[in-house]
């Protein structure tokens, strides 16, 4: 976890909610850290979409352990992946967006995603855009986040 972290926005859900949106993200930091602790309405994956981009502009490589077997995979998606949103057990996710406000490079994202009842995952992902990140849309693949889920965005200074 890097030093020079400043909280940009935080939300604790008072009721169930289908999506969480971080917007108007200032461009004055070097990196972003998104910390999530969640439960949900079903058995779903956690997804993140950047700047409203719905295209197949996200790629990933991951490794995962489910408590009995190890796996690795790669591919392209229409959003960032990695975490879980489960009703029966609590999950946490840490997403590190590097050089998020640069306009001369694609954006790389490292994540750690954990649910002690299901799996532990590490991903390296890329958003194929040179635009500065100004919006993050966070959502489960279906259903809702449950009340008590917590989302915090930090800016990391160089």
């Amino acid at each position: 976890m890097p030093n020079g972290m400043t909280a940009l926005a935080t939300l604790t859900l008072g009721g169930s909610q289908a999506t969480v949106t971080f917007s108007s993200i200032v461009g004055t930091y070097r990196d972003l850290m998104l910390i999530i602790q969640d439960t949900g309405s079903g058995t779903e994956g956690l997804r993140i979409r950047i700047n409203g981009d719905t295209g197949s502009n996200y790629s990933y490589v991951l490794m995962a352990g489910d408590g009995s077997s190890a796996s690795s995979g790669s591919g392209s998606m229409t959003e960032l992946i990695g975490g879980l949103v489960y009703s029966a057990s609590i999950s946490n996710s840490i997403y590190h967006f590097m050089d998020y406000s640069a306009t001369d490079k694609h954006k790389t994202v490292l994540s750690r995603n954990n649910n002690a009842s299901v799996n532990t995952v590490a991903t390296a992902q890329r958003w194929a855009s040179t635009a500065a990140i100004t919006t993050l849309l966070v959502y489960p693949t279906a259903g809702t986040f449950a009340a008590g889920s917590i989302f915090t965005l930090y800016g990391v200074s160089a």
Binding site: G4, R112, I150, L153, G155
Partner: protein, 176 residues
């Protein structure tokens, strides 16, 4: 600045059975523990076991990990809470394992989850790199953290640092 050093423990001459952070204030949002630890156990990697608030009941904890040893990968799960890797006495001399343990929302009233990453350092072929998911069923705020070895002691020059991360005064983005 949202990240603050709360305390640091350096193991002195003679070693120590545990490293403990106590009287942790509840004024932060998340906690992070950075560890550089070596044990006197005759092995290449010693697991760092974590207890919160003196809760020594293994069944109140769950760990799930993905481990690589340089040639193979493994995943397993059990009770207790594993939070990192120390080098053991048969590891390359003067090397210490490095680990990081993150505890989000440690002062909340829900069960506590953890995210940990750790390596045991070794110039030989036997070394371990691991990522963990963890859970403690306790709903009380975490006020103490104990880092225990599965057997033996932590040796001199082992160290651990506790940081608090705060989300108060958040400004610079909008969330809904």
């Amino acid at each position: 600045m949202a990240i603050t050093k709360i305390a640091q423990v350096d193991v002195g001459a003679g070693g120590a059975a545990n490293i403990t952070f106590s009287s942790i204030p509840g004024t932060y949002t998340d906690l992070m523990v950075s560890m550089s630890i070596r044990s006197d156990v005759a092995e290449n990697g010693t697991l760092i076991l974590v207890q919160f608030n003196g809760d020594a009941t293994d069944a109140n904890y769950t760990w799930l990990r993905l481990l690589g040893n340089g040639s193979s990968t493994f995943s397993s799960t059990a009770t207790q809470l594993q939070g990192g890797f120390a080098t053991g006495s048969t590891s390359t001399a003067t090397t210490f394992g490095n680990s990081s343990l993150f505890i989000p929302n440690y002062a909340g009233s829900a069960a506590k989850t953890t995210s940990a990453d750790g390596v045991s350092e070794n110039n030989a072929t036997a070394a371990f790199q691991t990522i963990w998911a963890g859970k403690w069923t306790g709903t009380a705020a975490i006020t103490s953290i104990t880092l225990k070895s599965g057997g033996g002691n932590w040796v001199q020059y082992s160290s651990a640092t506790l940081y608090g991360i705060s989300n108060s005064g958040a400004t610079g983005a909008t969330v809904s």
